[in-house]
Assembly symmetry: C2
């Protein structure tokens, strides 16, 4: 991890957490933040350790995950640019509830917990923005719990592919921007199972896989699978 003082007011202005803050508050922030860089695979914080502060991701992606006793990992979510990392713990003063690790070269602003508490006292509206972000994450988790407990793996995969399709503006070619092993973890399964299911779907003409690029050939059928139809899968 490398570190240096920042001076990036423009970036600050465009982060959701800090939206609509008066310039004075931003200037104050600018003096507090430090820029930190993490290389691929580097740990940003570990589950159970005391919260020392939160991060605003500037560049790169961070995976937040839990580890089982046997070392299997379940990815909770992937935090990307302009998103917050570790804010809940910093706010509540509780230990980090999961591990965070840079998936690629990642740059982030570090906001020490102490200064953070001063900030929200001076600018309660910051909390408003945080609430919005928290709400979204809460809804994400709600859906995730539903997925993990109610759907089988093909259903979760189909849901994920259709989600990528949506997010990609409706293109039938979607690109999974994480490794298949990581995708397996995100879906609550293992690489072998994911591989087999992709094979079956491919055999049945639902899609075509070329590396991380997947072409959806039958969205309707995929939607049926999400809804619990098996289609011989």
């Amino acid at each position: 991890m490398s570190e240096k003082k920042s001076g990036h007011l423009t970036l600050l202005r465009s982060t959701p957490l800090l939206l609509n803050l008066p310039e004075t508050a931003l200037a104050m922030l600018d003096g507090i933040l430090t820029e930190r860089s993490f290389s691929r695979g580097e740990t940003i914080f570990s589950e159970g350790s005391e919260s020392v502060g939160s991060y605003i991701i500037i560049k790169g992606r961070v995976k937040v995950f839990k580890l089982s006793a046997e070392g299997k990992e379940q990815i909770l979510h992937i935090v990307g640019t302009k998103e917050l990392l570790g804010a809940v713990s910093a706010f509540a003063g509780t230990p980090y509830p999961a591990h965070a690790e840079a998936m690629e070269m990642t740059t982030a602003f570090f906001l020490p917990r102490k200064d953070f508490l001063v900030l929200i006292r001076k600018e309660p509206s910051v909390v408003m923005n945080m609430m919005a972000s928290l709400s979204m994450r809460l809804q994400h988790f709600t859906r995730m719990i539903e997925d993990l407990s109610l759907k089988e793996v093909p259903g979760r995969l189909a849901a994920y592919l259709l989600y990528l399709h949506e997010r990609g503006g409706g293109s039938d070619v979607v690109e999974i921007d994480i490794s298949k092993g990581q995708l397996a973890s995100l879906l609550g399964t293992i690489p072998e199972t994911l591989s087999r299911i992709l094979r079956k779907m491919s055999d049945r003409g639902l899609l075509k896989v070329s590396g991380r690029r997947i072409k959806l050939l039958n969205r309707k059928a995929l939607q049926d699978i999400v809804n619990g139809d098996k289609l011989g899968l």
Copy 2:
């Protein structure tokens, strides 16, 4: 559902959401809130419907759950006295993400979304309290996702029993305050499986079941199961 105007300032003062509010704000609230009662099994709101407001539970318990296409339910959490119901949706203006149903005779204060928005504008500190409550829920969900994806059913059950043990102040006799079927749903499984696992644990001398009352006879072994040891289960 029955409804009447409220005048319960004392109750308001002791709800976490409203902690530390000036009396003027409380008085204003008192004029806004209505008291609503729901009988056992009554729906309070349904997934996907527009958020009209949030509730502060005064008495009783509400189960918040998702339904699969086949009608299987996954309980997300159980909201009890002085807790908030539907606050995220009211805040974010998004539809309710799950169903809410009274598990028993339940009384709650209803806070219309419109008034709620006015309130947080006038009293940003309310949001501070909400954040704390949301954070807790987020951590609960984090754990739940971990449980559902990393642990097998015996592990989830053992974790739940030990949780009840903690919450019950360390007594070795714990009382599950929901039906076994509901508990199964909360653990992401079905009554049959739960019944079989309780049987096995009982056979192995880990606990003793009498109706909804369970006596923990070997906490250490239960903890081992949470950590992934099978112990022939």
